[in-house]
Amino acid sequence: MFRLSNSPLEINNLHASLQSETAGGFVCFEGRVRTLNEGKTVTSLEYESYGPLAEKEGLRVIQEAKEKFPIIAASCVHRIGHLQIGDIAIWVGVISQHRGPSFEACRYIIDEIKSRLPIWKKEHYQDGDSGWINCEKPNSSSK
């Protein structure tokens, strides 16, 4: 399961959805908004996405994880909208019979989702500045 969410992630429901009598291991990853990024103090941030393609690509990543690793199930929800420090931006959970595949699949999913899904992050800084991550550094002409 993969989806985008405009409201705070309901971690307890996500956790409860990954149950199986044959699961001996559960691994989850939470990406949280942190106050410091590359030396600047972040006050809040916005995630924007191209929804239809992000959801297709997210499902493809989950499907790939199931093919690559012997896992029972995997879920991921990515938050969209305006987030504050400490808010959960992404949640990935995996269950498997043994623990190794859950760790490997969880890491695979977060790595692929970060690099492949059409989702963008704008950070707002304490000094009043703001910027789209990865978009403004490569050619700094825009700032």
Binding site: H78, I90, I113, S115, P118, K121, C135, E136, N139, S142
Partner: protein, 94 residues
């Protein structure tokens, strides 16, 4: 000549209508989230060059990806009338 007839002739000449959606930095630089336009561009690469001449886009094509009708495609894919395009700035999910 009816407008239908004109549209037909323009299409024959290679002109088509495409729908573009803008996100993140491109949306801010274009100052709008979407537009439909008539173009003679044959590929997304040609279309982006055309747009970059009219708008203050700072991202070079090699820093972007392109999606056509909700799927990632190559920059050299042929455009058709009615296509839906998204130029995808460097992503930063998670």
């Amino acid at each position: 000549m009816s407008s239908c007839g004109l549209k037909h002739i323009l299409k024959t000449m290679g002109e088509k209508t495409v729908h573009i959606q803008y996100f993140a930095l491109l949306r801010e630089q274009r100052k709008q989230a979407n537009e439909s336009l008539h173009t003679n561009a044959q590929t997304p690469a040609e279309l982006y060059r055309e747009l970059a001449q009219k708008h203050p886009f700072t991202l070079a094509q090699e820093n972007l990806q392109v999606a056509l009708n909700e799927e990632f495609v190559s920059w050299e894919t042929s455009l058709s009338d009615g296509d839906h395009l998204v130029f995808i700035p460097p992503v930063a999910g998670g």
